[in-house]
Amino acid sequence: MTLFLEQLLNGLQFGVMLFLLAAGLTLIFGIMGVINLAHGSIYMVGAYAGTWVAMQTGSFFLGIPAALAAAALVGAAIEFLIVRRLYKRDHLDQVLATFALILIFNQVVTLLFGRQPLFVSIPPLLDGSVQLLPGLPYPVYRLAIIVVGLLIAVGLYLLINKTRIGMLVRAGSTNREMVRALGVDVRVLYTIVFGLGALLAGLAGMMAGPILAVQVGMGEQILITTFVVVVIGGVGSIRGAFVASLLLGVVDTMLRAYLPSMLRHVMVGPEADALGAGIASMGIYLLMALVLLIRPKGLFASNF
């Protein structure tokens, strides 16, 4: 039972990481109608910038503002220089232009930081494990990620539902013309949203630093999963992204944890393990296909 709880927490933690990325992506999707493949690259930029500063200063907490600033700046620059030209284009052009950005970012990061992965330790404050229940130790750092992720989710909820910017964002994701009619400079709104999305991606990158390897290509690995989240949740819906992130995090973790042993009841050991792992990797894609077949616009589709 404690094992199950631990896996549930793991799923939750993976889910909130996905949410940080998916929130920005879904907003950019929903409001500007842009498919941004370079979102993963912003995550990488955040991870590199934050980790590099943390390595130079020896302080993880100094790395955080660096990661946020770098990601937001790069995000705003991408919006200003490239994405702005893509609003009126079709999805195909957007996919390709941002695909090109992935190539460029990967090489620039290689040029700046070299090919060796970077490394940052968990800050002493968050190191070690705590006993949540008897027999259920859990790393403090992962708990911290869950807490930060949930706080951000709450913050986004308040931002979207209680502020003027949030009102515009909501209006923008259902009816772009309406925002223009309100006399708002849409371009500024777009840059703000893009920067906000980049900020969250950078934060995710920084938080991933001590757990994962900070290396070239880390963005693409998580990018596709994030897109799956966005599509399952319904393009443009923060709430959908939140639900889908947690759903995907938990489903993915549970499949990996329990499918092989379940299959072992019906077939031989090693084959069950390999097949189970194979199906588990496909799991999120199967889930997406299923959701889309039942609800072609995703779980929480805004009606546009």
């Binding site: 090919r115 060796q116 990797s281």
Partner: protein
């Protein structure tokens, strides 16, 4: 008429040119420089170049011209580069490939064209057995040996139960097969992770629940870094020891993991602290040239360059006589940085394997120390299938 004479003259002039000054031997180095595996290709390229620089632009007294190209971990790309070098540039000697799938697509073309491929790393099992080729040499190891030695190491250390993990792909499955071939204890858990997986929390929980005496895991590159860090963060490192094959713990991985690596057991065929003249020579030159710890990939590539140098020296750099070059290669007449070295019948290495351990060094940073033997004169299981 006049035109034809001119062309003929020009052609003979071109042909005559190499006779005046020895044309450098062209070596095609196809390797992976982009993406997460890029650092491996970089070490392979740098070590090969180091051997050449140490001889002043020559190998075995013969001037060489190395052409480096990035295969981007795409089999098709590797093949295309080989093709181009073979037919456009007349390259007859190749090396450098990091990954098995690129090698699988590229090497058959090279050897079929009568050129040589000397592998500094990848050595898939089919090419060690049935598909072995007289123009194909492997200086590194056969893939399985890495994990067989890890299995033997776990056996030597007296563990009775093991939990094994590897990514769900061919090399991962080979790793677990190799490990189980020599580990005689009980496997209490066998888990295949996904190749695009970065979070291993679920696996950590499974390991804790299974309570094994030892964990064996094979996760190359960034996967391994993530795995080891999370292993430590989950508090497992202090309770369950781990045995690794060298791809999961090279110098770069160690640097990325830091203190979390202390106490790990590694099986390897080379280590930076080896006490032989060739290795000291290599280490000194490397640190001077690049000022970073070399990975074992670098050592293999350096050995590859030395092996090529020995053959070039014996043949005087004449690549037109393939038989002579092959005979010279087979002798393996060079001082390997790993000490003893010879080729088996399938032209894969027969060599010793060692037990390494990560310890805290004098400056407080973790270092990999050689602490004992695992295998003596270990070849591979596929040599019997090779009919040459």
């Amino acid at each position: 008429m006049l035109r034809r004479t001119f062309l003929a003259l020009a052609a003979s002039a071109m042909a005559a040119f190499p006779a005046l000054a020895q044309d450098p031997v062209k070596i095609g180095l196809i390797t992976t420089l982009s993406g997460p595996g890029g650092y491996i290709g970089q070490d392979i390229r740098d070590a090969f170049q180091l051997a050449i620089d140490m001889e002043g632009g020559k190998l075995g007294g013969v001037p060489v011209d190395v052409k480096v190209e990035d295969d981007a971990l795409k089999p098709g790309q590797g093949k295309q580069i080989a093709e181009k070098m073979l037919s456009n540039d007349g390259v007859k000697l190749f090396t450098g490939i990091v990954f098995s799938n690129v090698a699988g697509a590229t090497v058959p073309d090279i050897v079929d064209a009568g050129a040589f491929y000397i592998s500094p790393n990848a050595a898939p099992s089919n090419m060690a057995g049935k598909e072995c080729n007289e123009n194909y040499f492997v200086v590194s190891w056969q893939n399985d040996s890495l994990h067989e030695s890890a299995g033997q190491l776990a056996q030597n250390l007296g563990y009775k139960t093991a939990f094994v993990l590897a990514p769900n792909y061919q090399a991962g499955k080979d790793a677990i097969t190799g490990f189980k071939r020599y580990f005689k204890g009980e496997i209490v858990g066998e888990t295949y992770t996904s190749l695009d997986q970065t979070d291993f929390a679920a696996e950590m929980a499974q390991i804790r629940a299974a309570k094994p005496e030892v964990v064996f895991q094979f996760h190359p590159g960034g996967l391994g870094i993530a795995f080891l860090r999370q292993y430590e963060q989950a508090g497992l490192l202090s309770t369950v020891p781990m045995v690794l094959a060298e791809p999961s713990m090279d110098a770069v991985t160690l640097k990325a993991i830091g203190d979390a690596a202390v106490g790990l057991n590694i099986s390897s065929h080379w280590n930076a602290d080896f006490d032989n003249a060739a290795n000291k020579n290599f280490m000194e030159a490397w640190m001077k040239a690049y000022n970073r710890m070399p990975t074992y990939y670098a050592s293999q590539s350096y050995d590859t360059a030395l092996a090529i140098a020995s053959a070039l020296k014996a043949t005087g750099g004449n690549m037109d006589d393939a038989d002579a070059f092959r005979d010279a290669m087979r002798k393996a007449d060079f001082e390997s940085v790993r000490g003893k070295f010879k080729f088996g019948v399938n032209q894969h290495p027969i060599q010793d394997w060692y037990h390494l351990k990560v310890e805290k060094g004098e400056d407080g940073k973790p270092v990999i120390k050689t602490v004992g033997d695992v295998f003596k004169d270990h070849g591979d299981a596929y040599a019997d299938q090779c009919k040459m």
